[in-house]
Symmetry: C2
């Protein structure tokens, strides 16, 4: 019997009625002739409420114990979904991440999946059960302690289980209909993408598209698991993420250079002014930031000014890391010998993404011309083989996204397709 | 290093402040030079809230999944206590029942402990940790599914762990000061009992004293674990439950015939009227009730009436089981051939308990005389080697308890000892 893995996020199981609705959908998949494994998130705000409780008890809760606490949320929704399925006459069994064989590193709060040993799940499926697995969690290989997998981890659990169980595909359910050519809240003419390659999805996720987590897409690409991103509130097909060779472009889309436009609002820019133009100074800066666990995105270094033999280095980073980054940099100001720090969080990043650009050298020119025509000034530039990103003023961000979307022929023909998500 | 096991009930951990107070008490025990293992219940109303949620999802939640759901409550409080201890500078680690090696039968909702395999706890203690174990739960030996142990089970977990770890003793913390010669809400002159034998405690627990669960006392007796019942709101010593040979009677208590007076209000009486006086009819009745999982307490069968060759059989049972018992009996009315059923839930049971009565044949007479003097009519009688119980009208219950307490010289000298519990 073909196996499928389904994952439901917190908004799909926010209360008892929502859980019953998910149960009907799961049962339909089973009755459609599949073995079904469901990965489930905690109900609505459960995780936030547990975190509040932890902070009432301790200003800095121990990571091991926080994992022990937070993992109970998914265990609850998993058990509740199994009860709802039993009421519909289905045989269903819930399992903790540990019981399901999700083996991880021991880094509490941000563990990585090392292996899946799905023996119990296999035999539960063989006995005809629908299997429900608590997402976001596993068990540390060495210590046997309960771990959580960090943000977006339920998606990753689902894809990892799909790979371990040789499932046909993995469905990721949320409250949006799929992946769009741009955020429909900014570009009303955005279209849903029927199929997209792992590589493009990776660039989309890494550059602001929040629907799938980066690590999940990486896992799916490595294990060749087709992922179907869709809404739990409709029966419409969503977006398939798959190997490039399997991606079917829709009619009239064969010449598409660009698959989508991603944007990111939550970054800030730090400029390190007057760095002595000597070997090792940039390395010292980024080594210190790396040691402080700060994720750097775009980096730009200007050519050295002849008069001073000094240069400026700018980089972007998640806004939430700014305070820690500035403290780190101030700590090495004397040893590195830079002059001052500038900070700007009124920035935005626009990225055009598409495997088609590999063979079309004109993409950069077309993108920049579109921005110029829209009166958008370009601050920083960063590129990969299938992506071009620019940093702009935050006030110009929406305008820039729309200009790029139109320039690359992504706008829906005729009237705009209305964004069909629930807005949550 | 001597080991002790402490158990804290839900009222001792009802909120963040309560958890921090428990943490200080646990730390004090550790600093007193002990290895400490803590068994903990779910916070306040958590279990009831989870049960409500389950009933919203399913009118009859599957037992396996209910166990999966409800066990998260104790896991949360265990993790929170470990966080609070870490804040005090202690090394503490929380474990689920399964991780702690609490191996049980597979009867979900009412599993029994088969074995404790405390390997992980032993090594955590050896590493200097305070160990916190989620109470009320274990893992089924055969299925490896999560189980709950039924009512009063956290106490039993604590005693079982104390036995498995060869602990010096087990402390059971709640919001009452210990075991009293009678319920101080009924008998203001009741005294706290400093030490009591397992056998007497068993009779107290089986006959209405709610402080320790029957199964917990049975386990402690079998494994010779001294149990210290005390309040988490004071530092006063509570009541020690131990082997009879180790029980020290207080000064002036050597001649005490009776250790305490227990009472039970939550029972009902069913009378099966006109049972044919033939072999096997009573057996048929109690076999049917047993199959329906109904716990029978006192049974009385009158002598058969000569004129009809029929007899009446009366028995008491927990009021909550009445509906099911009556349905069961109606189902066998034709085959057994009895005439009718009478039902009375306005009853109460008073028990006098004490190992001293073994060698004093006058106890029954003294008890009955005291009830007669108080104007209390006796309905049913049941005895064991160290207990006499009578069923009376519920309106007479308090009067009967006070009369017995006074008759057996249990009243505190001089002014009454004020009941020091918090009343919760």
């Amino acid at each position: 019997m073909p196996r499928i893995v389904q994952k439901y996020g917190g908004s799909s199981v926010e209360d008892a009625d929502a859980i019953k609705r998910v149960a009907r959908r799961v049962l339909a998949a089973k009755q459609g002739g599949n073995d079904v494994v469901v990965v489930i998130s905690a109900m609505g705000d459960t995780t936030d409420e547990l975190m509040d409780l932890a902070l009432q008890v301790s200003p800095m809760p121990k990571a091991r114990e926080l994992d022990m606490l937070l993992t109970t949320g998914e265990r609850q929704s998993a058990a509740l979904l199994a009860m709802a399925l039993a009421d519909l006459g289905a045989d269903a069994r819930s399992y903790t991440g540990s019981q399901a064989g999700v083996i991880t590193t021991a880094k509490h709060g941000d563990a990585r999946i090392i292996d899946i040993t799905p023996g119990r799940i296999e035999s539960a499926l063989d006995d005809g059960n629908i299997v429900i697995v608590a997402g976001f969690q596993g068990v540390a290989q060495d210590t046997k302690d309960v771990t959580t997998l960090g943000r977006g981890a339920s998606d990753t659990t689902a894809v990892a289980l799909a790979a371990a169980l040789s499932a046909e595909y993995c469905e990721i359910y949320s409250d949006v209909d799929g992946i769009f050519t741009a955020d429909p809240r900014i570009v009303p003419a955005a279209r849903q993408i029927p199929e997209i390659s792992y590589e493009e999805m990776l660039e989309m996720a890494a550059n602001g598209a929040k629907i799938l987590h980066l690590r999940c897409v990486e896992y799916a690409r490595r294990e060749h698991v087709p992922v179907h991103v869709r809404s739990s509130f409709t029966d419409k097909p969503g977006t398939w993420v798959k190997d490039l060779k399997d991606v079917k472009k829709g009619p009239g889309m064969e010449q598409a250079l660009i698959t989508g436009i991603a944007h990111e609002r939550g970054e800030a820019k730090i400029t390190v002014v007057g760095v002595p133009d000597q070997v090792g100074r940039a390395a010292a800066i980024f080594t210190a930031l790396g040691a402080a666990d700060i994720n750097i995105d775009v980096i730009v270094q200007n050519v050295s000014r002849v008069d001073t033999s000094r240069t400026d280095i700018s980089f972007t980073l998640p806004s939430g890391d700014s305070r820690s980054a500035i403290a780190t940099l101030k700590g090495i100001q004397d040893s590195v010998g830079f002059q001052e720090l500038l900070y700007d969080d009124q920035i935005g990043k626009v990225s055009v993404i598409g495997v088609g650009m590999r063979s079309h050298p004109g993409v950069t020119a077309k993108f920049f011309q579109a921005l110029a025509d829209a009166g958008v000034n370009i601050g920083m530039i960063s590129t990969s083989e299938i992506r071009i990103s620019v940093v702009v003023d935050q006030d110009d961000l929406d305008k820039a996204v729309r200009a790029a979307h139109t320039a690359f022929g992504l706008d829906a023909d005729g009237e705009a397709v209305v964004y069909a998500g629930t807005g949550r």
